[in-house]
Amino acid sequence: MKPIIELRDVEKYYGDFQALSGITADIGEGEFFSLLGPSGCGKTTLLRCIAGFEDVSGGSVRIDGKDMEGVPANKRPTNMVFQSYAIFPHLTVAENVGFGLRRDSRPKPEKAAAVAEALAMVGLTGFGERAAHALSGGQRQRVALARALILKPRVLLLDEPLSALDKKLREQMQGELRRLQRQVGITFILVTHDQEEALIMSDRIAVMFDGEISQLATPQQLYRRPVSRQVADFIGVMNFLPAAVSAVNGGMVACEVAGLGRVEIDAEQCPAGAKAGEGSVGFRPETLTMLYEGETAGEGGRGRVAEGTVAEVNYFGDMTYYDVRLDGIEQPLTISMRNVVGRKVFEHGERAQVAWDPGALVLFC
């Protein structure tokens, strides 16, 4: 993978406040890359440093092999889709989309063709003469995309582009953005606070907290092997239980999980590395299974069974989320079960057997 953007120890200060510290990452050519984190984690600041709207206080940003120090936003091979879309309200749709071509020396008909092509790409053929301020949210989003892509930037920067849309439209646009990215082959960098959106759309995700990248990984790695409780908690739901690591022996780690007993797990299940001492283990809700009568705890003898009481039932139609208090464990665990025809939904207060797999847990030391 050839990196198109190389970030080296990027730092950003606002007065005494450090917004970014030691950001180092390579973003590959043609990659769909997401910056994910809670508000105030520095993800938008980092995007603006790449765009050239903010100067870095330390470190370097290289785009396409060239150091961007002192290169202003209007000279960088990047274009941006703003959170508010920033559609020029006094211009028509076509004038908005063609705005970046003002300094292009091509003859007018060629420019008009480029505008028509860009509009077709985002599914807005025939909207060219409309007044921009009369568009709906989804249409503004498309105009902003067409306007940014018409200059064929090396990198497209998207600052929370879907946050202003309602749920249905947002899900539709997620798919369209992904398709568009594959079609044009340009590197997309998406800033979002929505972990689901990041998982669905990205090739790789950088999870940021407090101005630092906590983990940079593919969506699957991020979900299955989060490096810290903070990351695990931010991406999806995870149940945590205290655990004591007794021995680290080559590829195997032995530990005592509160309420569940002694387990031996693979060292690969400790993404941040294992060492003897106090820690905690995490389970995703779908790695725990409620057992129905006559069922056993899974194949290969790895599955174990614990007993408990159903404390809460949250029925979602396709799924049911149970909070189950296992015997000997104070805090209830969240368990998700797919609802299948012919199978009952457990009820509040019912006793249940829960199968769990030591191979599915993640250890944080």
């Binding site: 202003p72 936003a73 274009n79 703003f82 508010s84 020029f88 309200p89 003002r102 300094r103």
Partner: protein, 269 residues
Amino acid sequence: MRGGTGFRVYAIVYLVFLYAPIFLLPLFAFNDSTIIAFPLSGFTTNWFKELATIPALHGAVQTSLIIAVTTSILATCLGTFAARAATRYDFPGKGPVMGFIMLPLVLPEIIVAVSLLVVLLGIGIQLSAWTVILGHVLICTPFAIAILNSAFQSLDKSLEEAAYDLGETRWSTFWLVTFPLIMPGIISSLLISFTISLDEFIIAFFLTGTEPTLPVYIWSQLRFPTKLPSIMALGTILVALSITLLMIAEYFRRKGIRKTGGKDTGGFL
């Protein structure tokens, strides 16, 4: 919410007190008598015709127009700079600086006028139309800033960034994006500054040279009772003109807010 009859009476008395004198102005301007008193004696447009025959009045109108036009342009330019700085940038001492610029809004005009006169005479500057312009710019700029502040605030900051990002320079961004979008605010600021300058009396009275402005001229004519009806006619024209200009200014201000899709946070009307 329902107010009692007490409040209704209060509101009516208030409005009568405020506007009755202004309604009397056209009444006597069309009255066929040199005495300003009831009962009215008859209808005439002679007082308006008489206005056309006074050269001193024409000179005063001309002086006032020159001063008002120059003032509105200068105040709006300065207001644009200040409003942009206030809404876009953070700099040390921003609060106090903006406060000092806005101060003439609440300072008694007589104090502004006298202190300006003292300073101007002190540094040996001859009183002329330019010294009046100086004073008027001082009191009009806060109004221009107030109007343009709201224009800049309803302008999304990322619009300018988007234009810059798409390859324009800071300068071309201003003319292609910022200026067209704050245009209604600029027109509104020009009109309000013009109106304020046109009927401002105290500063003009103190700082004017040999050529009086219109309000100063009107004041000087009040000593002659026979001139009163024609002053009433002149006043009628000025009131009509002021109301028209203010309405146009407000129309543009509201149009601007609609255009940028912002929320109306109140204006002067």
